[in-house]
């Protein structure tokens, strides 16, 4: 028996989904569904846009206006949808490679414009769909199929990247912290401006296996033990923060929103 949430907000006839056993992506998709349900959004007015990759298959399972685009370009398509019809609640789903490598230009410019789009980054630190190549968020020294001797790249912090580019709401959390994730997604959707929630996911099939991260439970425990709320971290001594990652809300500010500014021009020209 499916829960009312699943029946109401997901395309149950499209299940089972394509994700591997133990993949964290389903937790993020469920958090999105719960956030949309909690906010009581009109399903007909929600548009979910994705690019290419494991995470980008999520919109196909979600019962809204859904658009599965080309690799990296979800924010380009989403910008057209939002500007052409600002009444639509536009949510972008993107993996770490999709969003910060091939789509990196679109990320920084959507953030710079402060267009009212909510971006949920499913960050599993790897290119999963193509079989485990290192991505812009793969930590240095870790392995991927294209980094057999260890990754020498330095990783992006996507939350900081978006904030630096002008996003007016950013938050980071993990698939272990599913309830917090839902709250952040709700806040991001309600925020008038460009918002980004970086959801740290797990890829046991490729990232976990390649880097000997143990079982799915081990990987979830790693998220539980390694991520510290940034406000809590402020009160901790440096030695307690060694090897830890910060999570929580990083940016939350009000700035003029792009489609509202454009509508202002249209109104001004009417006079």
């Amino acid at each position: 028996m499916n829960s009312p949430l699943v029946e109401n907000y997901f395309r149950v006839d499209k299940f089972p989904h394509i994700w591997c056993p133990g993949c964290g992506h389903g937790i993020i998709m469920a958090a999105m569904g719960r956030a949309i349900e909690t906010l009581g959004l009109d399903k007909d007015k929600v548009c979910i846009v994705s690019g290419i990759g494991c995470s980008s298959r999520a919109p196909g399972y979600m019962d809204f206006n859904t658009l599965h685009t080309t690799h990296g370009r979800a924010l380009g398509f989403a910008t057209g949808v939002k500007l052409a019809n600002p009444e639509l609640e536009v949510i972008v789903v993107a993996g770490d490679g999709d969003l910060s490598a091939i789509g990196g230009n679109h990320l920084i410019h959507a953030a710079r414009r402060n267009i009212n789009i909510t971006t949920i980054c499913f960050n599993n630190n790897i290119y999963g769909m193509t079989g485990g190549q290192y991505s812009p968020t793969t930590p240095t020294h870790e392995k991927g199929t294209t980094a057999p001797y260890g990754n020498i790249d330095r990783p992006f912090d996507i939350t900081q990247l978006a904030g630096g580019a002008g996003a007016t709401y950013t938050a980071k959390t993990t698939v272990y912290h599913a309830n917090q994730m839902q709250k952040f997604i709700e806040a991001a959707i309600q925020h008038k401006g460009f918002s980004l929630v970086e959801a740290i996911s797990i890829c046991p099939t490729y990232y976990g296996r390649k880097n000997k991260k143990g079982s799915v439970v081990d990987m979830m425990n790693f998220l539980k033990d390694s991520f510290v709320d940034r406000k809590v971290a402020e009160k901790l001594p440096p030695e307690k923060l060694e090897g830890k990652f910060l999570m929580g809300e990083f940016v939350n500010k009000v700035e003029p929103e792009y489609t509202a500014l454009y509508d202002g021009i249209i109104e001004r020209l009417k006079k």
Binding site: N65, T69, T70, G76, T79, G80, A84, L88
Partner: protein, 377 residues
């Protein structure tokens, strides 16, 4: 009421035509020699409640236009040379996902950065084969400012009618040339709008009615909540790995064009009734060819002009007929013989096909074309 007469560039006439056709959205990236199309769209669209956005790159320029089209508005993007190369992947997306869209390419000298301010016609094959995979293509090319206006309207109409991206392939000659143009009244313009499903109907986004080839298109936000993907999909719009399904889909996409050649193909013929020789030319180069044909006719040479207005689909059947009835066809274009190959293929050896062209950024002058023509006499 007096007609509105203007002195416009081809690029400006393109925007006038787009607005008459119902354009409400433009997204693009600055590039010479197409930029006037963006500039005028930026000025005019908000005046009528439409939207303009300068995106961060060429790829986003077409992506946003596709997104806008899905909300039910008519969208256009314009570019030149390198930008046309960058847009190719999403042209294929729009073809497969059946998104109406107009892409203008004001051709300039290539390859690479090439000759940004000089004319060329080197993108005609790219317009057909630029994106990967087999896909339907409609490509129109004007030879005057007024025709740029008319073909922009037509490009929107064909995009809406066949749910497919339509390429308006102009060149630096027609794009930057100024001519007197009489702008028709809105009431004189035939405008085609995409067919939408009835509200409340059981909608399958890619299902076609019996005997039809084009699915009805709902706008996002109208209550149909459908899925759009660049993966092969079934009639519901959801991905399908079935080769049988892919076969049905790709054949239907091609048939949208191939079964409607009479509706899509357009060309101009001059002095063709008794022609023994033919000059084949299009776009800005056709202006040179017209001057040459008139001069030769004055000299008593039985020469005619064939000018394709629709380049893709190629007017193959008509060229085949012509080839069977004339002594020689001279193809002239600003490239090293891209459409010459199509003409050769179409005449199937029935007559010789000669070629005069160049790709150094110069236009072809009547003097040099006439010299080339005289070689056959």
């Amino acid at each position: 009421m007096a007609k509105k007469v203007k002195f416009l560039q081809g690029n400006e006439a393109c925007v006038e035509g787009a607005l008459m056709a119902g354009m409400k959205f433009y997204s693009g990236y600055p590039i010479t020699p197409s930029t006037e199309i963006a500039e005028l769209s930026a000025e005019r669209l908000p005046q009528i409640g439409g939207k303009f956005i300068q995106m961060e790159d060429e790829i986003a320029g077409i992506a946003a236009a596709i997104g806008a089209s899905l909300t039910g508005v008519k969208a256009m993007t314009a570019t030149s040379g390198p930008g046309f190369s960058l847009k190719q992947e999403n042209i294929g997306y729009a073809a497969l996902a059946e998104i109406p869209l107009v892409i203008v390419n004001v051709q300039r000298g290539g390859p690479s950065t090439g000759l940004p301010t000089s004319p060329a016609q080197g993108d005609v094959m790219q317009a057909k084969w630029g994106t990967h995979g087999d896909h339907p293509v409609i490509c129109l090319t004007p030879d005057s400012v007024r025709e740029t206006f008319d073909l922009t309207v037509r490009a929107f109409n064909l995009a809406e009618k066949y749910r497919t991206p339509v390429i308006l392939l102009t060149d630096e000659i027609t794009g930057h040339m100024r001519e007197k143009i009489e702008i028709p009244e809105q009431s004189e313009i035939e405008v085609y709008n995409r067919i939408k499903p009835e509200v409340g109907s059981d909608y399958k986004a890619y299902k076609v009615e019996e005997g039809d080839l084009v699915p009805k298109m709902a706008a996002f936000g109208e209550g149909f909540r459908y899925h759009v993907t660049g993966l092969m999909h079934d009639e519901t719009g959801f991905p399908s790995n079935s080769t049988a399904n892919a076969d049905v889909l790709i054949k239907r996409l091609m048939a949208k064009i191939d079964d409607n050649l009479d509706d899509i193909i357009d060309y101009e013929e001059m002095f063709m009734e008794d022609a023994e020789y033919v000059i084949f030319a299009y776009g800005g180069t056709a202006r040179t060819a017209k001057a040459v044909v008139k001069q030769l006719r004055n000299e008593g040479v039985k020469v005619g002009l064939f000018r394709p207005i629709t380049i893709w689909p190629f007017p193959e059947a008509r060229i085949k007929e012509i080839g069977a009835n004339v002594k020689d066809i001279l193809v002239t274009e600003l490239n090293f013989g891209q459409l010459k190959l199509e003409v050769e293929r179409s005449v199937g050896g029935k007559c010789p096909v000669r070629f005069y062209g160049k790709a150094n950024g110069e236009i072809i002058t009547p003097e040099e074309l006439i010299l080339s023509f005289r070689e056959v006499l």
